[in-house]
């Protein structure tokens, strides 16, 4: 299962790699220039880059002048046979957002010759949405070659992880293929909520942790205090912390040696039967499904017949290789190695991430596998104009090929016509999906207000899980409503604790823990209804804490809540796409806010329009939209004819963007705007 890789680009790049492999071709010719070698020399002087000349000491036997670690795996002339398990390290970088993970990854890639210095920043963040938002949503993997001070060459597989709470599932998946992790912490900001969450994810998986304090070049950096925080929070000894600046290169020379020395090699038996972990997969437009695997035992070669343990499906390995960083066929992968594989799979849904693969008819004990991702947020996605449905359908198909974590089913709305009801891992996931639909697939969409999967229990004990507020029964009696909750971790400077507690209380939060984290920081743990995170919680949190509080959450249990369906009525008719589920105490306030917003967003009509909110069978708010009184252009002569035409055409375009709800025209923006409005009272 894989997400968010721009299809196509990868293999086009792979073709370039093949061209570069020709001996006279300078690699990465685009970036190559005097400055580049100067950069490498600088890095080498710093003892940071891999050195072409073997170090004096160490195992001389491992040193082979025919191979050049400063040029990466491909141009360095390596084969996978150079790297027995003892010379392999599989690791991740885990960090809070903006703590410099992508920059550090870039430096590691440059220093080992995998990419050119000074090339495109954030190499691993390939998607436009990732670069724009400064986040990683899709895990990437890259194999690096590093010549350690012992003189031996090591294959370091960096498995990048997404940096947002919605994608924590993806993080744990990536970590399953690692034996260690770099815990990257901003030396000014210190431990943040995601640092905590990611640390425990790694800790639970028994990974060796290498703490790295980044941005030590900044004036505001306080590496000593942050090291003490790590000691307090995670029992990490301060001397273990590396102090670096990925930006300036300060201290980076210590990072790769620490990876080699502190992270254990994969433990596998090279002579055993093949046992592979499928830890990721993505769809490529030209090549079909690309599977990312770690070979735990044995070896796999091109042409091998393999079986997926979960389904018993057999495949033939069509191509196997390393991501160095572009796909590079090696013909085989050996024990402990991480690489990609093409097995003729067409749909990522067939690739059960977490699955165990083995040779045909040579079954091995399967790995525990991954728990499937669960949709935590649902929303309707509709084409901007009804005529756009087919285009949207095609775009949805292409995008879900690449993101099997989105669940999709057809939906029909009275207001918006044919569309889809989609399930997402979280709100960011939803937003990223929408953005990708629009950016990469050119679809213009309306996304309805997100809703969480509530469970409605009827008096007879029958239970229904709702994916759509419109499914909330209003005519039958309800025994109870259960809603999903989350366990939220918030880390904040002490000054803001009061206002954050107020915010959480407004959001029906339930405090679980209040701990001092040291260095003037507090850790708060709250039980919050997932629905309350919708809309603007994150913005509010940032605003009440001047941007300093950080936030992370994990799924928690369902709890009973007094929830109601809130309908918006336009001229007495309920608009299904605007329905939402709210807490009884908030129904009136939310209803009032939605009606006011609707009144402000809607154009005056030819007649008076009543805007009402209804909850629990009664009207809780009402606004009136007055009719317009005149709509005329007085002067129309001579050259004015074309000008007036343009004006009317513009008005017409406005009308075409309208969705007709009964006899009332509602602009599309209304749906966007009302979606953004959370359930804040």
């Amino acid at each position: 299962m894989a997400w968010y890789r721009s299809s196509g680009g990868l293999w086009k790049a792979a073709l370039q790699v093949a061209e570069w492999a020709a001996p006279q071709e300078p690699a990465y010719s685009v970036f190559r220039g005097p400055w580049r070698s100067a950069t490498v020399q600088m890095l080498q002087r710093a003892g940071w880059a891999s050195q072409a000349a073997p170090a004096a000491q160490g195992e001389a036997a491992a040193v082979d002048p025919a191979f050049d670690p400063s040029r990466g795996f491909v141009r360095g002339g390596y084969t996978v046979a150079h790297f027995p398990p003892a010379r392999i390290r599989n690791f991740s970088i885990i960090a809070h957002v903006d703590h410099g993970k992508s920059t550090l990854a870039d430096r590691l890639l440059e220093a080992t010759g995998a990419i050119a210095a000074g090339g495109q920043a954030q190499y691993l963040d390939k998607l436009q949405v990732e670069r724009e938002r400064g986040i990683t949503v899709k895990a990437q993997t890259v194999s690096l070659v590093y010549r350690h001070s012992d003189g031996a060459d090591y294959l370091l597989n960096l498995i990048d992880t997404p940096g947002h709470v919605d994608f924590s599932y993806e993080v744990s998946r990536s970590l399953a293929a690692c034996q260690g992790a770099l815990l990257l912490v901003d030396a000014s900001q210190g431990v943040q909520a995601q640092t905590v969450a990611n640390f425990f994810l790694a800790f639970e998986q028994d990974l060796a942790i290498v703490p790295v304090l980044n941005k030590c070049d900044m004036h505001s950096a306080e590496p000593g205090r942050v090291a003490q925080q790590l000691k307090d929070a995670f029992d990490i000894e301060p001397p273990e912390c590396l102090r670096v600046s990925a930006k300036t290169g300060l201290g980076l020379c210590a990072v790769l040696p620490a990876v080699v020395e502190r992270i254990p090699p994969p433990v596998g038996s090279p002579d055993g039967d093949l046992r592979m972990l499928l830890f990721d997969a993505y769809h490529d437009e030209y090549r079909g499904v690309v599977c990312l695997v770690e070979v735990l035992d044995g070896r796999v070669q091109k042409g091998d017949r393999i079986t997926a343990a979960s389904s018993g499906t057999n495949y033939e390995v069509g191509e196997v290789g390393l991501l160095a960083p572009e796909p590079y066929p090696t013909g085989e992968l050996l024990t402990g190695q991480v690489g990609y594989m093409l097995v003729g799979m067409k749909d990522t849904r067939s690739a059960r991430v977490g699955d165990t693969w083995h040779h045909y008819r040579k079954p091995v004990p399967p790995l525990p596998g991954f728990k499937p991702a669960k949709s935590m947020v649902f929303a309707g996605i509709f084409p901007l104009s009804a005529a756009g449905f087919e285009q949207l359908q095609a775009a949805m198909e292409r995008l879900t090929l690449n993101d099997a974590s989105v669940t999709v089913r057809r939906e029909n709305s009275n207001a918006l016509g044919a569309g889809f009801r989609c399930g997402f891992l979280g709100l960011l996931h939803m937003d990223v999906f929408r953005q990708r639909l629009e950016q990469e697939h050119g679809a213009s969409v309306i996304v309805t207000a997100p809703t969480v999967p509530c469970r409605v229990v009827l008096p007879g004990g029958e239970e229904r899980e709702l994916q759509n507020p419109a499914e909330f029964p209003t005519s039958t009696k309800i025994a109870a409503v259960w809603e999903p909750t989350v366990a939220a971790t918030i880390v904040t400077p002490n000054d803001y604790v009061g206002s954050i507690m107020q915010l959480c209380q407004d959001r029906r939060g339930d405090m679980q823990e209040h701990a001092v984290l040291g260095a003037g920081r507090t850790l708060l743990k709250y039980h919050l209804p997932l629905a309350e995170l919708g809309g603007d919680f994150y913005d509010e949190l940032k605003s009440v804490s001047s941007g300093y509080a950080s936030f992370d959450y994990e799924e928690a249990e369902y709890r009973v809540a007094d929830l109601q369906r809130l309908d918006i009525l336009i001229n007495g008719e309920a608009v299904d796409a605007l329905a939402r589920i709210v807490h009884r105490d908030k129904a009136q306030a939310v209803g009032r806010r939605l009606c006011t917003k609707l009144r402000d967003l809607m154009d005056r009509q030819q007649f008076e329009v009543a805007l009402q909110a209804q909850a629990g069978g009664r009207i809780v708010a009402r606004e009136t939209l007055k009719a317009f009184r005149k709509n005329v252009l007085a002067k129309c002569y001579g050259g004015d004819v074309s000008r007036k035409r343009k004006l009317l055409e513009k008005q017409k375009e406005g009308k075409k963007r309208m969705r007709r709800l009964g006899s009332v025209d509602v602009p599309q923006e209304v749906f966007h705007e009302l979606m953004k409005a959370g359930n804040k009272s």
Binding site: K630, N631, V632, Y637, S642
Partner: protein
């Protein structure tokens, strides 16, 4: 030059041969382009046959419903000089200063400008066979131009396009720029209609608008018009001005009627971008009247002026019988016209073309235009533009006709457009709710009278069913004032309905 002589001569031949005017012209254009001297070597009768054949071929290339080009009957001449630019104005205007109209350098500028327009006229191809039926001098303030210069323009127009006996020749004139003598001079050279830009009858409002005259000037202007015996004149007012109240507006309307004009225009203020008004005011907010109040003023004008026997023949125009502005009707009926001078728009051979709005740009454009004319013979401005498509023409027709009390003839529309029948159906459907509300008045084929679509009458016709009622509608017009006042909404509904076809077609 042969090429100039041939079409002139042969246009007449083809004309008499009975070929469609446009087709023949086009055929001749082809013939002329392929070798002008050809005709000289041919027997006239053979040449005529050739022309007829070419005309037929050209006619066949046209879609069957598309008419040959109608010939222009009207010319607009833009005279941009004003004493000062009004605060709401976004027309191309050259402000000369309040008391400087007689200054020698201003007179020189006017002289040079008129010379340019005369050059443009001379370089323009005559597309009309009949002499012009109307000329309109608009501005700016055309009455700032000395009569002698105006005469030069009229002479040039007559020389190039012909000016019919009895043609309507209008001139816009602002109070404070003319007296009876000047008007007599205008009348003497063929002007028949004067449009007096009074705009407001309150000094404080005139000052707010940056007008270069006061109420006393306006009253003197009216006296001058009467003294000169102008055979048809219009008094122009503006509603929706800042600080204008419904009560003031009512008095203005009465005063306007007392002035005894044959025609009254009442333009509701439009706050145009990049004008001082746009910086000062926002529509619907004080000191501009509220939407409700502006709507009331519109209704007031309609009631008061119609009550005085004027016909509300266009959204903003009222006229005594026989005094509609013939020239403006050309625009509103979608017929072709010449446009001459700075920023003017022409509609010729199915092409709408606007000249540059800045003097330097216009001068540059004119140089190219006259150079082309010297090299290739007289020009049609904007000839390089694509012809207006049948769809564009359809939308123009709907938009313009619905602004007229004469309304839109759906049968005629069906005949003029390739998909006119379908368009008619879409329009009937789009207008049905407006008919039901009484904003649009429809007339069916069989029934004699108009059907006011109020609630009462719709129940009276409900026996026939709405679908039937809709199908028999042959003609529609906007109700006065309920439909006129929301004309944009109704027309854009029509546009949206017609857009469905083009989208389905694509």
């Amino acid at each position: 030059m042969a090429s100039r002589v041939v079409p002139q001569h042969l246009r007449a031949l083809a004309w008499h041969a009975g070929a469609g005017r446009f087709a023949a012209t086009q055929a001749l254009g082809v013939a002329a382009a392929s070798g002008a001297p050809l005709q000289q070597n041919l027997h006239p009768r053979l040449w005529r046959a050739l022309c007829a054949a070419a005309a037929e071929a050209a006619a066949e290339r046209q879609s069957p419903v598309e008419e040959a080009d109608e010939e222009p009957t009207a010319a607009y001449v833009h005279l941009p000089f004003c004493k000062r630019k009004c605060s709401y104005c976004d027309f191309p205007v050259i402000a000369v200063g309040r008391d400087l109209a007689q200054a020698p350098h201003v007179q020189d500028n006017m002289q040079r400008y008129v010379e340019m327009v005369v050059q443009e006229i001379a370089a323009s191809r005559r597309l009309n066979w009949q002499p012009l039926q109307s000329v309109f001098f608009g501005g700016g303030t055309p009455s700032l131009i000395p009569p002698s210069l105006l005469e030069q323009l009229l002479v040039a127009l007559d020389r190039q396009f012909g000016l019919a006996a009895g043609a309507e020749v209008s001139i816009e004139a602002d109070p404070g720029t003319f007296d009876a003598a000047r008007l007599r001079a205008y009348l003497g050279m063929g002007v028949t209609r004067v449009s007096v830009g009074v705009q407001a009858l309150q000094d404080e409002l005139l000052a707010l608008c940056g007008r270069a005259h006061d109420v006393a000037d306006a009253l003197r202007a009216v006296e001058a018009v009467h003294a000169a015996g102008v055979p048809s004149w219009s008094l122009d007012l503006m509603s929706g001005l800042p600080q204008l109240t419904e009560e003031m507006w009512g008095r203005s309307l009465e005063q306007a009627l007392d002035a005894g004009p044959h025609h009254i225009s009442t333009y509701d203020l439009q706050v145009e971008e990049h004008t001082p008004f746009a910086r000062r005011y926002s529509p619907g907010e004080a000191p501009l009247p509220s939407d409700e109040s502006a709507a009331a003023m519109y209704r007031q004008a309609s009631a008061v002026l119609r009550g005085a026997g004027l016909e509300h023949y266009e959204v903003s125009n009222f006229a005594l019988p026989g005094h509609r502005c013939r020239h403006n009707m050309v625009y509103w009926e979608g017929r072709p016209f010449y446009g001459l001078g700075l920023g003017s728009a022409s509609y010729l051979q199915g092409r709408r073309f606007s000249r540059p709005k800045r003097l330097n740009a216009y001068r540059t454009w004119l140089q190219g235009y006259t150079a082309d004319a010297a090299a290739q013979g007289p020009q049609v401005a904007g000839a390089w533009l694509p012809r207006e498509s049948a769809d564009d023409k359809l939308l123009d027709t709907v938009m313009l006709r619905l602004r007229l009390a004469d309304g839109l003839d759906l049968c005629q529309l069906a005949a003029q457009h390739p998909q006119g029948g379908e368009a008619g159906e879409l329009l009937r459907a789009a207008l049905a709710p407006h008919i039901a509300r009484g904003w649009v008045i429809a007339r069916g084929g069989g029934e004699g009278g108009e059907r006011e679509g109020s609630a009462g009458s719709s129940s009276s016709t409900s026996g026939g069913g709405t679908a039937d009622g809709r199908g028999s509608i042959e003609w529609v017009r906007l109700a006065d004032p309920d439909g006129f006042i929301v004309s944009n909404d109704i027309i854009s509904d029509c546009f949206a309905a017609l857009d469905v076809t083009s989208a389905g077609e694509a």
